[in-house]
């Protein structure tokens, strides 16, 4: 079994190469380099999958390090990006996801030994669903975020009769970007809901109440409301274009705030690093 330190170095190298190719491919508008970036990201994903299958995280229920959690998120991001790339035939998603995964691996390395002790009362498979569904949701929101940012940049230029040039010229059409964002957010909402309900269930079993006023809970409920508004308007009111793109960016920004600031800097049940 490869140790977490060695596997982190190997995956870090894969994602570094993938990111370098992604950056040079995007700036230099070179398709071959972009495809190269995708290949390295997929290789990294497969390697990490093999490690997971072989029991890399065999102590998942009894406790996992903060670093391992971040690496798991990277795995989910690449998984969603690969599926989206195949389904939507847009390599943009994998190309942009690789640098995000590299950042996650960089952050993860100092925290490989920092264990998160899960109370024995919630060491159930529900816990896996809680993390898994929220990670899938966050990965999908990242895809929606990338598409929405790209959409707004290109749409603004078209609307104001400016030339779409440079890096933007290689991105998909605004209709396709809106479609990617739409599919990602519509799928993210049910996963987020499942993840949240799981959280409330544990909270209820642990503290006797589903909502305890924890900052993470409040922020998560607010994100859920925003996501619900987006989901409803996308489905029922056929929202397209700028409005949903802006709301998607807000939701993802809030999710990042919840994931980074609340988990690390605030006094919360989820503030593992503190």
């Amino acid at each position: 079994m490869t140790s977490p330190e060695v596997s982190t170095i190997i995956l870090f190298i894969f994602y570094t190469v993938s990111t370098i190719l992604a950056i040079f491919g995007t700036i230099g508008r070179n398709k071959k380099l972009k495809y190269g970036s995708c290949i390295f990201a997929v290789v990294a994903f497969l390697f990490q999958t093999i490690l997971l299958i072989n029991g890399f995280h065999k102590n998942f229920i009894s406790g996992l390090s903060v670093g391992a959690y971040l690496q798991m998120l990277a795995w989910f991001i690449i998984l969603c990006s690969i599926i989206a790339t195949i389904k939507l035939k847009q390599i943009l998603l994998l190309v942009f996801s690789a640098p995000v995964c590299l950042i996650l691996f960089m952050i993860s390395s100092p925290f490989l030994k920092l264990m998160i002790n899960i109370p024995s009362t919630i060491k159930t498979s529900f816990y896996m669903f809680h993390i898994g569904s929220l990670y899938i949701s966050l990965s999908l929101m990242l895809i929606a975020f990338i598409s929405s940012i790209s959409f707004l940049l290109i749409e603004k230029r078209i609307k104001h009769k400016a030339r779409v040039k440079g890096v933007l010229a290689d991105l998909p059409s605004i209709s396709n970007l809106d479609k990617i964002s739409y599919i990602s957010t519509v799928l993210a909402f049910p996963f987020y809901t499942v993840g949240l309900l799981n959280g409330f269930f544990w909270s209820s079993s642990l503290f006797g109440s589903a909502i305890s006023g924890d900052p993470k809970e409040i922020v998560s409920i607010f994100i859920w409301f925003c996501l619900a508004i987006l989901f409803h308007n996308r489905i029922a009111k056929s929202w397209k274009g700028k409005k949903p793109a802006k709301l998607t960016i807000l939701i993802f920004s809030l999710s990042l705030f919840s994931f980074i600031i609340v988990n690390t800097a605030m006094n919360s049940f989820h503030s593992f690093i503190r």
Partner: protein, 423 residues
Amino acid sequence: MENEIFLIGLNHRTAELHIREQFSLSSYCDSDTWPIKNDQVIYESFILSTCNRVEILAIGNKDVENLIIDSWASAKGSTSSELRPYVYIYKGIDAIKHLFSVASSLDSMVLGEPQILGQLKKAYRKAVELQKTGSILNRLLHKAFSVAKRVRTETSIASSAVSISYAAVELAKRIFGEMHSHSALLIGAGEMAELAALHLLQNGIQKIYVANRTFSKGRELALAFNGIAVPFEKMTSYLGESDIIISSTGSQEPIIHAKDIESILSIRKNRPMFFIDIAVPRDIDPDVNTFDNVYLYDIDDLKEVIEENMNNRQEEATKAEKIVDEEVAFFNDWLRNLELQPTILSLIQRTERIAHEELDHTLKHLPNLDESQKEALERMMIALTHKLNHSPLMFLKGSHMRKNKNNAERISLIRQVFDLDRQ
């Protein structure tokens, strides 16, 4: 006798249209009318005659340009003094560079236009058919085609639209991506609008509606585009079904108003709409552009897009010129190397002949050698000549690497030292 490449021509910069017409050689490209006779002075020739340029490329002895100009003028029933003020003459490396620039569309009226390469290929096919080209022009023209391809692949000189209709289609692609699942509505029947519709069709648009004040004309147009003619009065009801709307009527008032758009967007479930207003005065209320998911471009906007694209092509031309310079240097190297070939061949043949003579002489004194020993001896002699030839050959090629300053002198020196001119 030293061969030189000559390029004599006139183009849209040096000659007005009536002069280009007067000296056009487009109907002088068969074996009877070919104006340049391949003989002892001119070995190879090639003619390119398009609406914007007439160019004659030839391989010959020094100073054949007068002969070419005379032949050209006389073929057109004129005199060389009449033709001469409009022509440019390029020789050697300058001729190569000019040809590569023409093939790469760097010398065209519309920078980066794709037609010139096709015209050049067609002219080359004709010259080959008439056996007017030889080893140098064949190589030169094939190289010109590959340079043009390289320029197109490595720069974006031809990637952006420089006509109104192409610019409109490019914008539509930027909004919708693939055209296959989209439909367009053509209002009116202006030439530019028709061209835009044609380009949309070529890009795979699924359906085209045509609305014209004169229904019969609209039906005619719809037939041409394999589309559907719709009554002009009911045109607004088809807006909901159309993603791209191209309007070019002669109306003095707008025919599509901003107030209509909200309800249309609701019918379309906010799917984007792209309005292209080519009419003057404008057919579409400019406020239409204020709606989300609606994009309106009028004739001035499209002209601005084209202008910007032209500037971009100009920037890309600088990159393309570097590629041309690089390829000119490669071709020139090959050409200069070609000059050395007879001397190289003579040197190798002479030394090998001496080696064989000496070998035969030696073998007469060694009658007891078996076949394998004889072969070994022969191999040794050949290897020896190769090794001895290495330095003089490097000397010859080295002179060519030093920009060919004393190429003729060095060839002469080697020929004298090794006595290569003795019969």
